[in-house]
C-alpha cells in the first residue's frame, strides 16, 4: 500500500494531521458564527429602528412629551424663556460634563430640547420638570439634570444624550 509506506515520513504524516486539525478548527469556527450572529437584532427589529417623525405643534410652552424611538424614551421639551435663560446663565466650566446649551439644541429652535430620557448613571428614566434645576430628576439615586438636560448634581457622570434629529419644518422633527 502506498499510504502505508508514507508512514515512514513523519513530515508528510504531520502535515496531514495538522491540515486535518486546521480544517476542523476553521470549520468549527465558521459553524460557530451563526450561533453568535443570531443574538444580534433581527431584521424586523432593525427595520423598526427607522427614523420617526414627531409633530411639535400640539406641545404648549412649558410642556414636554415622551416618545419612543428604538425602545428608548425621548423627551421633547418646549422650554419657557425662563428655562432657556437659566440654562444659558450657567458657568459651563463649573459643570461635571461641560457643554453649552447652544451645543445641545438646534440654532433657531432654542425652545426645543430633545434628549434621550435615560439617566447616564444606571439607566433609569428621570422625571421631567422635577428637581432643583427646573430640568429632570432621577429618583433612583438622586441625579439632578438642568433645563438643558445637563447633569448638575448626583452620581450620574454625563449629560442626557441628544439623539440624532433634525427639523423637517418649523413644527416637525425627524428623530433618527
Amino acid at each position: 500500500m502506498t499510504t502505508a509506506s508514507s508512514a515512514d515520513h513523519p513530515t508528510r504524516r504531520d502535515f496531514l494531521f495538522v491540515a486535518t486539525g486546521a480544517a476542523a478548527a476553521v470549520g468549527g469556527a465558521a459553524a460557530l458564527w451563526p450561533f453568535i450572529s443570531q443574538m444580534n437584532p433581527d431584521a424586523s427589529t432593525i427595520a423598526a429602528g427607522a427614523p420617526i417623525d414627531v409633530d411639535l405643534s400640539p406641545i404648549a410652552e412649558g410642556q414636554d412629551i415622551k416618545v419612543f424611538w428604538r425602545g428608548k424614551p425621548i423627551y421633547i421639551s418646549h422650554r419657557t424663556k425662563k428655562q432657556i435663560d437659566e440654562a444659558r446663565a450657567v458657568n459651563v466650566a463649573s459643570l461635571p460634563d461641560p457643554q453649552t446649551d447652544e451645543a445641545r439644541v438646534k440654532a433657531g429652535h432654542e425652545q426645543w430640547l430633545v434628549v434621550i430620557g435615560i439617566c447616564t448613571h444606571l439607566g433609569c428614566i428621570p422625571i421631567a420638570h422635577e428637581g432643583n434645576y427646573d430640568g429632570f430628576f432621577c429618583p433612583c439615586h438622586g441625579s439632578q439634570y438642568d433645563s438643558s438636560g445637563r447633569i448638575r448634581q448626583g452620581p450620574a457622570p454625563a449629560n442626557l444624550p441628544v439623539p440624532p434629529y433634525q427639523f423637517v419644518s418649523d413644527t416637525k422633527i425627524q428623530i433618527g
Binding site: L16, A23, W33, P34, Q38, D42, S44, A47
Partner: protein, 690 residues
C-alpha cells in the same frame, strides 16, 4: 467508567483536582485508553453520530427557543419570523428540523445494528434497555417538538396522539383532559409541550450517560460477537475510535447538510405550513416519517384500546429482546437463519412505514394487518424458535483471529441491504401507481423554474412581474402577511432599491394606532410594515368570499404539494426536487375550464378546475390574457402570469432561498475536503496498529 482509574496527571493543579474529583481520570479511562474491539465496522460509528446529533439538537434548540413564542396565537408567526428575520434563523431552524430526522435515522441504524449483532445479549441487557428508554424519550421529544410550530399537522397530530390515551379504560377521558389542560388541544397544551420539549433532551442526555456507563462496564460488542480476550483484540479508544468516529460523523454531516441546504422541507409535511385551525382537519393526518411503522400498527388493529396497546407494545417488546432471543451466538454474521430473518424484519418495518403514510383503505389495511403480525412474530415466534433450532456457524476464537480471517464475506450485509431495498422499492412502485389511478385527479405538467436545483436563483424580472400581478389581481382577496415592504429591497429578492421599496410601501394605507387620543388612524406604509391584508379579519374574508376564507399567500407554495411517495423519494433526493408547491399553484391558476366536462357535476357557486384536487374550487378564474400590463415586453398571457406570480409567491415563502443555496455550496466544498482529510488521517492512525 469501569472501576477506579489509574490515571495520574503530571500537572500538579490537575493532580489536586483529580484527588478530589476524579473527572479527568473518568474521561481518560472512558474515552482515551478505553480498549475498543479492533474489528468494529462503520455501523458502530452511529453511537458517536447520535451523541453529535443530541448535542446539535440541544444547541440549536436552545437558540431557537430564544426566538420562539409558545403561544397559540403567535407560535406559527414566530417560527416564520425566525426563518425570515433572525440572523441565520433559516439555517438554525433547518438544522433543528432536519436534525430531528437525522437523529431518528441514526437511531434506527444504531438499533438495527444492535439487533443484527446481538448487542442486547448478556451482559448488555441493561445497556439495551436503557437504549429503549432513550428511544421512547426521543419519540416523546420529537412529537412535542413537532407540535410547537402550531401548523395544521402539529395541531391535529397533537389531537390524535393525545387522544390515544382516551383508550385507557375508565380514566381515559380524564387523562386526555389532563394532558390538554383544557377542553381541547389549545394554548395550555402548547405551553406544556414547549416546556417538556425543552426538558426531555436533558433527560435523554442523562440516560445517555447511563447508557455509555453501562457500555463501558460491559465493553463494546463487535461484529463477531466474541469478547476481547487479549491485548491484541483491542485498540485504545483514542486515537483509533475517536478518529474513525470523527470520519463517520463528517460523512454523516454530508447527508445532514444535503437536507439542511437543499431539501429542508422534504421530510416535513406541507400541511404544517398552514396555521393551526381547530375547525378543519387535514385530509390525511400523518406523523413524521420516523413514527410511521408504529402508526401503521396502530391503525391495523380495528379496536381502539388494542391498537394503542399494539403500538406501544411494538416498542416495549424491545425491552424483552434479550430474553426472547436466547441464542448463544451473538452476531448474526454466524447465524445463517437469523441473518435472513433479520433482513425480512427490516423489510417488514420499511413496508409498515410505507403503509403508515398511505390512507387506511382497501389493500393497505389488509397489508398492514399481515405486516403487524409479522412484526410481532419476529420477536415472539421467530427469535425464540431460532435460538432453539438454529445451528450457528463456528465463531472465531478471538477478535484478532476474525480480523485475520476477514475475506470477501464482509460485503454480505451490503448485498442483503440492496436486495431488501430493491424488493421494497418494487413493491412501493407498484402500489403507488394504483393509488394514483384511484385518485383520478389530473397531474399537471411540471414547470421549469429558475430557482430549482442547487444553484437555482430567482428570476428578478419574474419576481417584479409577479409582484405586479399579485398587487393588481391577487391582493384583492389574498393577504401576504409574512412579507414586509423592506423585504423587496433585500438581497435575493426582486432587486428593488431601498428607496423603491419605501416608495412602494407609501402607496399603501396602513392601520396604526392607537395614538395619544386613543384612536386608530391610517398612515402611509413604511418599509418596516407588512403587506396589509385585504380584509380586517377572517370573518370578513369569509363573508366576502362565499364562506371560504382566501388563504394567505406568503406560504402557499410551501403549504401545497402533490403526493410524491417512495420511489420518487430516491430521485428527488438526488435531483433536490422541491417544486411540487409552485407546480401546484401555477397549475391551479391555469386549470380553469369554463364548463365542467360531461358527467361531472360541481356544487353550486364553485368553478371547475382540472388540476384542483376534487376539481371544484370556490375561487373564480382570477387571470385572463391581457389583464395585467407588463412594461418589459413579456407576453401578457395567463401562462406567463401564472409562472410569474408563482415565482413571486415562491420567493415570499422563502426570501432567503438564494442565501441558503449559496451557503450550502460553500459548506459542501468544505465538508468534502474535510471528510477527505479525515479519511486519510484515519488511515494513517490505523495503519500504525496493523
Amino acid at each position: 467508567m469501569s472501576g477506579p482509574s489509574d490515571y495520574q496527571p503530571s500537572n500538579p493543579a490537575l493532580q489536586w483536582i483529580e484527588r478530589r474529583l476524579p473527572i479527568i481520570g473518568l474521561v481518560h479511562s472512558s474515552f482515551v485508553v478505553y480498549p475498543t474491539p479492533r474489528n468494529l465496522n462503520y455501523w458502530w460509528t452511529f453511537g458517536a453520530i447520535l451523541s453529535f446529533m443530541l448535542g446539535m439538537q440541544i444547541l440549536t434548540g436552545v437558540v431557537l427557543a430564544m426566538h420562539y413564542t409558545p403561544h397559540a396565537d403567535l407560535a406559527f408567526k414566530s417560527v416564520e419570523l425566525i426563518v425570515r428575520d433572525v440572523n441565520y434563523g433559516w439555517l438554525l431552524r433547518n438544522m433543528h428540523a432536519c436534525g430531528a430526522s437525522m437523529f431518528f435515522f441514526a437511531v434506527y441504524v444504531h438499533m438495527l445494528r444492535g439487533l443484527y449483532y446481538g448487542s442486547y445479549k448478556e451482559p448488555r441487557e441493561v445497556l439495551w434497555i436503557l437504549g429503549v428508554i432513550i428511544y421512547l424519550l426521543m419519540m416523546a421529544t420529537g412529537f412535542m417538538g413537532y407540535v410547537l410550530p402550531w401548523g395544521q399537522m402539529s395541531f391535529w397530530g397533537a389531537t390524535v396522539i393525545t387522544n390515544l390515551f382516551s383508550a385507557i379504560p375508565y380514566f381515559g377521558e380524564s387523562i386526555v383532559t389532563l394532558l390538554w389542560g383544557g377542553y381541547s388541544v389549545g394554548n395550555p397544551t402548547l405551553n406544556r409541550f414547549f416546556s417538556l420539549h425543552y426538558l426531555l433532551p436533558f433527560l435523554i442526555a442523562g440516560v445517555v450517560v447511563l447508557h455509555v456507563w453501562a457500555l463501558h462496564v460491559a465493553g463494546q460488542n463487535n461484529p463477531d460477537g466474541v469478547e476481547p480476550k487479549t491485548e491484541k483484540d483491542t485498540v485504545p479508544f483514542t486515537p483509533h475510535a475517536t478518529i474513525k468516529d470523527m470520519f463517520g460523523v463528517s460523512c454523516f454531516l454530508l447527508l445532514y447538510a444535503w437536507f439542511i441546504f437543499y431539501m429542508p422541507n422534504y421530510l416535513g409535511d406541507a400541511d404544517n405550513y398552514i396555521p393551526a385551525n381547530p375547525g378543519v382537519t387535514p385530509p390525511h393526518i400523518v406523523p413524521e416519517w420516523y413514527y410511521l411503522p408504529f402508526y401503521a400498527i396502530l391503525r391495523s388493529i380495528p379496536n381502539k384500546l388494542a391498537g394503542v396497546v399494539g403500538m406501544f407494545g411494538a416498542i416495549i417488546i424491545l425491552c424483552f429482546l434479550p430474553w426472547l432471543d436466547s441464542a448463544r451466538t451473538r452476531s448474526s454474521k454466524y447465524r445463517p437463519l437469523a441473518k435472513q430473518f433479520f433482513w425480512i424484519f427490516v423489510a417488514v418495518c420499511i413496508l409498515l412505514g410505507y403503509l403508515g403514510s398511505q390512507p387506511p383503505e382497501g389493500i393497505y389495511v389488509i397489508a398492514g394487518r399481515v405486516l403487524t403480525v409479522c412484526y410481532f412474530a419476529y420477536f415472539l415466534i421467530v427469535l425464540p424458535l431460532l435460538s432453539r433450532i438454529e445451528t450457528p456457524r463456528p465463531v472465531p476464537n478471538s477478535i484478532s483471529d476474525a480480523v485475520l480471517a476477514k475475506t470477501g464475506s464482509r460485503s454480505t450485509p451490503m448485498v442483503s441491504t440492496a436486495i431488501v431495498l430493491a424488493l421494497a422499492a418494487s413493491l412501493f412502485a407498484g402500489s403507488i401507481d394504483s393509488a394514483k389511478a384511484s385518485e383520478g385527479s389530473d397531474q399537471p405538467p411540471g414547470n421549469k423554474w429558475s430557482f430549482s436545483g442547487p444553484f437555482g436563483k430567482f428570476d428578478r424580472g419574474a419576481l417584479q412581474r409577479g409582484l405586479k400581478v399579485y398587487k393588481e389581481v391577487c391582493a384583492s382577496c389574498h393577504g401576504l402577511s409574512y412579507i414586509a415592504f423592506r423585504n423587496l429591497a433585500e438581497p435575493g429578492g426582486p432587486g428593488y432599491s431601498v428607496a423603491q421599496a419605501a416608495a412602494f410601501a407609501s402607496d399603501y394605507k396602513v392601520k396604526d394606532g392607537p395614538n395619544d387620543a386613543g384612536d386608530m388612524f391610517e398612515r402611509p406604509g413604511r418599509p418596516a410594515d407588512y403587506f396589509p391584508s385585504p380584509f380586517p379579519n377572517e370573518q370578513a374574508a369569509r363573508a366576502a368570499n362565499g364562506g371560504a376564507a382566501p388563504p394567505d399567500l406568503s406560504l402557499i407554495t410551501k403549504a401545497r404539494s402533490y403526493k410524491r411517495g417512495f420511489p420518487w423519494f430516491i430521485i428527488d433526493f438526488f435531483t433536490q426536487y422541491q417544486e411540487q408547491g409552485p407546480d401546484y399553484v401555477s397549475a391551479v391558476l391555469q386549470g380553469f375550464e369554463d364548463k365542467a366536462p360531461e358527467g361531472v357535476t360541481i356544487p353550486e357557486g364553485s368553478y371547475y378546475n382540472k388540476y384542483f384536487p376534487g376539481h371544484a374550487i370556490k375561487m373564480p378564474k382570477p387571470l385572463s390574457d391581457g389583464q395585467v400590463t407588463y412594461d418589459d415586453g413579456s407576453p401578457t398571457t395567463v401562462a406567463q402570469y401564472a409562472k410569474d406570480v408563482t415565482t413571486f409567491l415562491m420567493w415570499t415563502a422563502e426570501p432567503h432561498m438564494e442565501a441558503r443555496k449559496r451557503l450550502g455550496f460553500q459548506v459542501f466544498v468544505f465538508l468534502i475536503i474535510f471528510a477527505g482529510l479525515m479519511y486519510f488521517t484515519k488511515k494513517k492512525v490505523w495503519a500504525a496498529s496493523h
